[in-house]
Symmetry: C2
Subunit: 460 residues, 2 copies
Amino acid sequence: MLNIQKSKKMKTDVLVIGGSAAAISAATTGKSFYPDKEFLVLRMEEKVMVPCGIPYIFGTLESSDQNVAPDKGLLDAGIKIKIDEAISLDLEKKICKSADGTEIEFDKLVLATGSSPKVPAWLKGADLENAFTIPKNKVLIDQMLVNCDLRKKIVVLGGGFIGVEMADELNKRGKQAVTIVEIMPHILSLAFDPELSIRAEEILRERGVNVITNEGVKEILGENGKVTGVLLNNGDIIETDGVILSTGYQPNVGLAEKAGIRLNQHGSIKVNEYMRTEHLDVFAVGDCAEKFSFVTRTLKGIMLASTACAEGRIAGMNLYKLSVVRSFGGTIAIFSTSFGDVSFAAAGVTESLAKERGFDIVTGTFEGVDKHPATLPGTHKQLIKLIVARDSGILLGGEIIGGPSTGELVNLIGLAIENRMTVESIMTSQIGTHPLLTAAPTAYPLIKAAEIAAKKHISR
Amino acid sequence: MLNIQKSKKMKTDVLVIGGSAAAISAATTGKSFYPDKEFLVLRMEEKVMVPCGIPYIFGTLESSDQNVAPDKGLLDAGIKIKIDEAISLDLEKKICKSADGTEIEFDKLVLATGSSPKVPAWLKGADLENAFTIPKNKVLIDQMLVNCDLRKKIVVLGGGFIGVEMADELNKRGKQAVTIVEIMPHILSLAFDPELSIRAEEILRERGVNVITNEGVKEILGENGKVTGVLLNNGDIIETDGVILSTGYQPNVGLAEKAGIRLNQHGSIKVNEYMRTEHLDVFAVGDCAEKFSFVTRTLKGIMLASTACAEGRIAGMNLYKLSVVRSFGGTIAIFSTSFGDVSFAAAGVTESLAKERGFDIVTGTFEGVDKHPATLPGTHKQLIKLIVARDSGILLGGEIIGGPSTGELVNLIGLAIENRMTVESIMTSQIGTHPLLTAAPTAYPLIKAAEIAAKKHISR
């Protein structure tokens, strides 16, 4: 007798495929706006990692258990969770098949399939033992953590945010040597102009991290299948028993592609301002979905949990009723990070990018302090650089070096960009100040930087 | 022979009378926009105190020398300073006479004469020895500091921001007992709804400050001309050897009034949206100038250094050329403070005030944490309450309890109010997040509170 197993059937109004930031925000916002609909989150991971928290597992946090995104928000909202892999989609019948054989019928579909580490195809040695990419899967992270603890030295390839944070955290954990290798003239150059990136490099070096910039990697060297060093383009060899490849992520679009959903030229799922694909009932959000820049209006490859969440909320709100006031205007790309007690953050475009794209700009930079008077304990320097359109005075970007308030201060800049505020309207904004919490009202760096830029853009 | 001293003469393009926040920002912004004009700041104090820093002289800081606002910004900009008291104004001849007999001729005048402590006329005992108001003058503060150090107990009358901060700082300095007496049902009730004020009261009590609310003061008791206690309306007597009257400030308008400049019904100098008085060449800014609410559009008595600075910048920019894009839309009243490691902040109207003024509102409250994952060291709870117009969804106010980022987070709320953002536009805003610096993107309290309010205001 043949062992014919009847396929299991499930039905939901809204199916969200994915488990991280974009999926969570699409599901919770959707459920909040359409409480009568059933929502099902289909994800591969038993426990979801807080994506931006991953580097901190290797230093500040003790284990990956401390970096689990809680399911409480989903469950409290009445959203169901199924742990399984989606393996195929039938968009005609609106059915998703999962690895355990279940057929899930849906009315609306949200793809939040995320991204995976990307390794340059030409890079020899990336498959050696002790050469790691940075996974988002808890089981893989736990394996990597055990292995990393056995390494004496680590070379991190790529000086973007994740690479820099990994390097600093591993250095904290007490390696013999941690080295960042960045091919661009400076680290973090996607978010910061050189004068700010240089400050970040100085701080990392003071903290004991080696920073090599303007230098490409030729090959990861090995013996007996294990990493022994990194050969640079200039011929130098960095001896190491561990390499971390922080060389970017690529969108997970296999499922979508197989189902015939259109991708853009960068291989991301094509979406409109409602985060809707070309299929009326299918939305895509987060790292797998197309991004374009709020400021430059060009396609971007930026992957950020915060952008993913904004997209998730927009999809969630538009699932059953499109609304022009709930559409997405492009990514502002708000970055922030912190090493030691110094924080770096940026929103919108850098001076370099603005010029490259053909904007006629002026800038304003002001350095002050983040408390007042500056004699108060725990006062940090606070530097703000603003990038402003010369003709209109509209804010296009901002960069900050500061203390613990930097993460919210950059959101202030982001909100000003989003509202297309001019430097003059920023100058006349009412900024609340307090000795222990902010700069002085008379020397608030955001306002002073706006003033400096305003003087340049206004012809008087 | 008669001793006839010829009066000294001076001449300037712009005369700014006053030395604190409003004066500094009017002078520096004005000089920045009109660099060819001469600016003179005429002020009474040799050294200017950072106004909001004054309570911290009594605890965190060691002396008033650490709370001096630097003159560097003024001097570097080429602004002159004269230390003297303005005693009369002739607006016809555009001449200001100062106490040393100098006649200062000006083209434009900015009045930034500030405010002075106000004591209820009916309060018996306010003139006793060891009953203090909180001055802004360094010499008086130094005297008060010496005297306060000799007090064993202190009763602070008035639970506004300055009163609460003074009480907490004096408690830190190690008094036997520090007591706040507030006549309203709760402290800080101008800025916070009861559920937040109650949290502030709990924290102060945990820190050892006695907090008595809903209770008026009948009389300050004394013997031999010195304070011995405070008699409450309910008949209770609080024994004390020191009383601090934190019962508000009144605008310094004597000079303006004598010169025939029009005051409003609250005794503040009447100004328009360019901060101009009824005299074309005379502006008034800061505590001495009229305030009206951005949200309720009614006159207000609020005095804040941050509002004063915004007004100063507007006057500075409009001195020689009025510009509608550089006008003032009313005060948003952004408050923040901190005791222990908990910070409180508010912008716009409270729920109570909004209802009192006849707004039809909904609210959204969400409590999360200010880092993510919450297992990170130094994580604080973060509670946000938003007050929103029911029909339009426009944000009218926000209140926060949180950690060190609270001071900039409330500015984010302030900017959203100023841009008349709806809760839906806030929900779709891109908020940058980072594990060490902000809440999680999926549970960012500002967005979640907006979502909760949005659900109430939209009929679906």
